[in-house]
Symmetry: C2
């Protein structure tokens, strides 16, 4: 008999069906045994009073894979309001051992480190499945929205000859006996490709060999990147991100209400125009980091809370960061050259995007690299782009895991990373 998915069972009342999935939970009430079967669409309740079948189910470990056939009957107390009265059970894969972490409760009692160590099992919990279902929609929405705006999807190398974001925090790879580095971002390449397609985007891993160990950082993350030519300023880049976030909020409302429910998170509201304030204005408002070129994490938290009070908005663009805190390719503000045409996007207390306008004239790059004492030779492949005609352009990078974590109000970005890598963890 063809397989019926758990979500489809409610449409089959009175019919015989075969469901297949993992044994999520088994309960005995006297001689009656209830078994919840989990598949990719959710849970289905099955029930038997047959002594042999009941014994079989009681003897199977959680997560055993089964195929259960039976007739569908109305049962208001079961998921979807129906249950499958068991006719036949086939055990596809029997689990003998107790699970290393319990996953059939509403929340997981094991700590995060234990969950991460037993990721193959802990990811099966309803909570984790909901997180990555939402992450899927975030990534799909980014690609679909941008493709609709004329952006071309690119795949740039992660093995690179030079550091894009400066200095020391790169991982070194032994490439047939010579050192190359893991890309910190696709920055240099996506700018080069503005010369080709004008508008490009990428969804790909990025690497930072930073030693800090915080709830917001991992050493490998998925970067959502875009870059676009013929802009007037960084404002155009914020416009695109704002429009995408509106599209994303709509997608999540349509497709992920259930997942947000599982996680007890609020579906995000995105204003058609997210407030944009200068760094100095934000610093004054929160009376922190005043006169400095940047916000610290506590400043980001306070600025985000302030935006909520002041504008009723969970999102806030902060612009005009100090030139010393932005990478060499950042466009200075012509009217105040110690500031930059740059922005961060804050959301529920965290910085989730960094972007801005870039330099586009070769002479500006040469002057900048001289001023900061960086040798041009390593960047020749990149600088030639600007020797052969580039328009004003800009872009942004956003961490997929960070955005997912804030959307779902998770406390640690690792919860939104399938197999996180940090200073002490490269397994599983």
């Amino acid at each position: 008999m063809p397989r019926t998915l758990s979500r489809e069972v409610a449409e089959c009342i009175g019919e015989s069906v075969t469901i297949k999935g993992w044994l999520h939970n088994v309960r005995s009430l006297g001689g009656v045994v209830f078994a919840l079967v989990r598949d990719r669409t959710g849970l289905a309740q099955t029930v038997t009073e047959d002594a042999a079948d009941a014994d079989l189910l009681r003897g199977l470990g959680s997560e055993s894979v089964v195929s259960i056939s039976g007739r569908v009957a109305r049962e208001p107390r079961a998921p979807g309001g129906v249950e499958v009265r068991i006719g036949r059970i086939e055990v596809i894969s029997r689990v003998e051992d107790a699970l290393p972490v319990q996953i059939n409760k509403a929340s997981i009692s094991a700590g995060l480190e234990t969950q991460l160590s037993h990721r193959a099992v802990s990811l099966r919990s309803p909570r984790a499945r909901a997180i990555f279902r939402v992450q899927h929609e975030v990534a799909m929405s980014f690609a679909e929205f941008l493709a609709g705006q004329g952006f071309v999807r690119i795949h740039t190398p992660k093995l690179v000859p030079a550091a894009a974001e400066g200095g020391a925090d790169v991982f070194e790879v032994d490439y047939f006996g010579r050192p190359v580095y893991l890309a910190q971002s696709p920055q240099l390449y996506k700018q080069m490709l503005v010369g080709v397609h004008e508008r490009v985007f990428e969804i790909a891993p990025a690497y930072r060999a930073e030693k800090h160990d915080t709830a917001r950082h991992t050493n490998e993350f998925t970067s959502l990147d875009l870059e676009m030519g013929f802009i007037e300023s960084h404002e155009d880049v914020m416009d695109v991100e704002n429009a995408w976030l509106c599209h994303l909020a709509e997608t999540l409302r349509e497709r992920c209400e259930e997942e947000f429910g599982v996680l007890g998170a609020r579906l995000p509201e995105v204003q058609e125009r997210i407030p944009r304030v200068r760094l100095s204005e934000a610093q004054n408002a929160i009376a922190r980091c005043e006169g400095q070129p940047d916000l610290d994490p506590e400043g980001e938290r306070l600025a985000s809370a302030w935006a909520h009070d002041e504008f009723g908005c969970e999102w806030l663009f902060v612009t005009h960061y100090g030139v010393e805190k932005r990478p060499f390719y950042t466009m200075p503000d012509p009217s105040a050259p110690h500031l930059t045409r740059s922005f961060d996007l804050l959301f529920r207390g965290w910085e989730i995007t960094t972007g801005g306008q870039r330099l586009h004239r070769i002479e500006d790059y040469e002057a900048k690299l001289r001023a900061i004492g960086v040798d041009q030779d390593g960047y020749d492949f990149y600088l030639s782009t600007f020797r052969y005609g580039m328009p004003p352009h800009g872009g942004l990078g956003a961490g997929l895991e960070r955005l997912t974590a804030r959307l779902l109000e998770l406390r640690n970005v690792r919860e939104a990373n399938l197999f996180p890598r940090d200073r002490t963890r490269v397994s599983p």
Copy 2:
């Protein structure tokens, strides 16, 4: 004045427009100067008889970025049947140097190595732009089709503790003083995630530290991967790929006719059921590699040509490769255990996909690893998946660049890789 894209100019006859882009080509005919301006949507012809403007255009190097305003007039000999009679020229970015490779002719005369060394410029050629526009559609189509079939997009780590595809061909990374490896494929992780979402896919870089230097290999490539649970056999996996390829062919016909034209390539036809033959049958038909567990590259070329003659089909699934030529996780054929439930997809002479059914019982993995003398310890994180309940499952991996190259009948896979990495090249 807001910018008009070159594709939109034909709709603006009699109106004043401003176009922005790169100076693709400038021709003088007596006192008349024609300048072709390239933007992300194509080429627009501009023309002037004004002496000062003509001098300005003649003095600008190719690829200078300009903004040109003027009135649109019918001109049957120009692209799109219209031209812009120049009123005003603004130079946004002036190019002083001659280009390192010519890109404004129908084909590039420079050799591939020269093109790759000057990638920031050579990628701007109509030919290269068409290749990566098609590649964009291939990747988008893969994601969209699979999402529609209930597959969840995943992002698995590329820094891994163990080699997925066996042995020596891995790049080593210095990870805070200890060695880890760049993932050869997401194989182990996508299988683990079948336990979570049943159906998963990924588009991400993969690494092979192989020293061979052929027209079909690079050391970093983009892998299109999928994995799915509750299958009967490898046939189900071929069904999904076949359906995707039908979807892709339709997408390319709708959106990329022009790009195929630029490259002189034939739009692919995909049969609703691509022929499936056993390896031994293919070997007999081409009288090559008979009795061996695999095809060599020449055998793949011959088998592909044979399929074209025999079935009128450019695609061919070859199944049942020898067990010694397939990775440890491959499911043997129950009726002939020296063969496997595996397949390759051949297209226009090249292997572009490898897939199959995997083992799903822990005892089968343990026996297999013992038999081939591999220590289980390094794979513990992976093996635990099979200890806690896994359904029959299978999947495939396809190289995005290889598929793009064959679709467009390119001779070298590097042409379909934005910034290829091979044994001698890690720059640009």
